[in-house]
């Protein structure tokens, strides 16, 4: 906070860099393409960097600073796209501080990005895909199934008014958070608490979505006659959904411990599906 204030004073004297509302709105606009070139390697990295370009241009003059910043923002990034502006806003604010305060530790920018994108995705996916989309679909389908063209129109409206409104709002809120609350929180050592809380929420949501969206069926028959059961049913006796849970944790293990690439996993799962289907071990 003190840094902030003294900077503000400095800024009157020297030429302190300051992002305007217009700059932030440019970022909002660019963020619309957050999933345009989503790739298996670093996911939203290009779109994130592209969204940050106006900020980078405004804040940094020296080429090496710009190169640095671009590299920083070409790193892995992924979150619920409509809410990505929250992190863009926070990041923009932190870049601003960094541009004006040479002693600012730029690594903390990446840290904040990384620590927020996961929980935000967990919460956001549940809200955007699991709730908002379902409501919009409910209304849309109920009209469209009668051939009423209002169906798709209302669908788009109900989905996008809150979603894009949030996108806009979160950018500015993120910027404010980034330059005020978040710095205070970091000074007070509360960042850890915040991430902890967000992780608790995010993980629970991911757990619930895993239960609903990952499907692993093993219709392998055990026993004979009326009393016969399947391997899948026996697993469900231990815990309902044990197989999807174990499978997801296994993939997690491959990703986090064995550093298996996403593309490899993709091909692997196609193979597993085909082989499992061929031998009748896995079912739909």
């Amino acid at each position: 906070m003190t840094t902030k204030t003294s900077n503000a004073v400095e800024s009157a004297a020297s030429g302190e860099k300051k992002l305007t509302k217009k700059d932030l709105n440019k970022v909002v606009l660019r963020s619309l393409g957050m999933e345009w070139d989503w790739n298996y390697e670093r996911q939203m990295n290009m779109a994130f960097c592209y969204s940050m370009l106006p900020v980078i241009k405004k804040l940094y003059d020296k080429p090496e600073d710009r190169i640095d910043a671009m590299k920083r923002h070409l790193e892995f990034f992924n979150t619920t796209p409509q809410l990505s502006t929250l992190i863009l806003g926070i990041t923009a604010a932190m870049e601003e501080t960094a541009a004006n305060d040479p002693s600012f530790d730029k690594e903390s920018i990446s840290n904040v990005k990384v620590s927020l994108m996961g929980p935000l995705a967990g919460i956001g996916d549940s809200f955007i895909w699991g709730t908002l989309r379902i409501i919009a679909t409910g209304v849309g389908v109920s009209l469209a199934s009668q051939g009423n063209i209002l169906g798709p129109l209302l669908f788009l409206l109900i989905f996008n008014v809150p979603a894009q409104g949030l996108r806009y709002y979160l950018m500015h809120m993120g910027y404010k958070l980034g330059s005020g609350f978040l710095q205070k929180i970091q000074e007070n050592g509360l960042m850890e608490t915040l991430t902890y809380g967000a992780s608790v929420l995010g993980l629970m949501v991911i757990g619930s979505m895993t239960a609903g969206n990952v499907a692993v069926n093993v219709p392998l028959v055990i026993g004979e006659g009326d009393a016969a059961t399947t391997f899948g049913d026996i697993c469900n006796t231990i815990m309902p959904g044990l197989l999807p849970l174990a499978f997801t944790l296994f993939i997690y293990y491959l990703v986090s411990k064995k550093n298996v690439k996403t593309t490899t996993l993709l091909l692997l799962l196609v193979a597993v599906g085909l082989v499992g289907s061929f031998f009748g071990i896995l079912g739909v």
């Binding site: 393409g33 345009w36 070139d37 989503w38 790739n39 298996y40 390697e41 290009m46 960097c49 370009l53 710009r66 671009m70 590299k71 070409l74 992924n78 995705a121 996916d125 549940s126 895909w129 679909t137 389908v141 469209a144 009668q146 051939g147 063209i149 798709p152 788009l156 996008n160 894009q164 996108r167 929180i185 608490t193 915040l194 809380g197 992780s199 993980l203 629970m204 949501v205 991911i206 757990g207 619930s208 895993t210 239960a211 969206n213 990952v214 815990m239 849970l245 993939i251 997690y252 990703v255 996403t262 996993l265 993709l266 799962l269 196609v270 599906g273 085909l274 082989v275 079912g283 739909v284």
Partner: protein, 260 residues
């Protein structure tokens, strides 16, 4: 015929362009069906088929790195053929669903072989400080890596005609299409694993299991779990910082005012 094929291709590309337009759900069957109806000259049928396919694809959405069936091509071709042949609802489903699985594979070929070079090229531009170059890679990568491919699949598919597409689909043995559907059920695991990789550590791992268990044992939907999760997050954060100054998560104030 050719003109319609090209127009349908453009509709498909517009659908995929939702990813340039705020991930705005343009690609959903509900929207694609209606637009196809406009091109084919039978809006009510297009809208109705869109609704049917929307219900069929309700559970298909992208989480993390799990890519769902390519609904756009499925919807556009399914709807277009149904209208052009005047057949019933089922046609849209029997063509739409397998086409979506098939084109997903083609799309993945693009994402595995065509898109990555653009990503790496962007790194080079960044290293040189060339902002325009980075921006260019962003636009071109998405266009050639994904967008164009889908448009071509749809245009060519429609031009080849229903019987040709059907023939192609018929070649595929049942175990393969079953297998692809099984894979669709497995794919979200990648998405969740990547999310977990971003958040999970020893200290909080149990909450993933908790969320899962709440859903499987008690049938609580995800929003419900989010509500319970929010309560847990607030209470546990408070306790973690008990003793030191407590921060109210919602308001960012330093002290806990009693009059809420």
């Amino acid at each position: 015929m050719l003109v319609q094929a090209i127009l349908l291709g453009l509709v498909a590309m517009l659908g995929n362009a939702e990813y340039l337009l705020g991930t705005s759900c343009l690609s959903r069957p509900l929207v694609m069906g209606a637009l196809t109806g406009i091109i084919m000259g039978d809006i009510p049928t297009g809208v109705t088929l869109g609704a049917t396919l929307e219900l069929a694809f309700m559970g298909s959405f992208s989480i993390g790195a799990s890519i769902p069936p390519e609904m756009i091509s499925g919807t556009v071709l399914g709807t277009a053929f149904t209208i052009s042949t005047g057949s019933g609802l089922e046609t849209a489903l029997t063509i739409g669903i397998p086409v979506a699985s098939l084109v997903l594979i083609v799309k993945n070929v693009g994402m595995v072989f065509i898109l990555p070079p653009f990503v790496h090229k962007a790194d080079d531009y960044a290293a040189k400080g060339d902002m325009k170059g980075v921006a260019r890679m962003h636009f071109l990568g998405g266009f050639f890596g994904v967008n164009l491919i889908i448009g071509l699949c749809v245009a060519i598919g429609f031009y080849a005609g229903g019987p040709a597409v059907q023939a192609l689909l018929d070649i595929i043995p049942e175990w393969v299409s079953n297998g692809l559907q099984i894979t669709m059920g497995l794919l979200p695991a990648i998405g969740f694993a990547l999310l977990l990789n971003m958040i999970m550590n020893k200290k909080v791992a149990c909450f993933f299991v908790l969320g899962f268990a709440l859903s499987v044992y008690l049938g609580i939907p995800t929003t419900g779990v989010a509500i319970f999760g929010a309560v847990a997050a607030i209470v546990l954060s408070q306790l973690q910082h008990a003793g030191s100054t407590q921060v109210a998560l919602e308001g960012g104030m330093d002290d806990d005012d009693e009059d809420f």
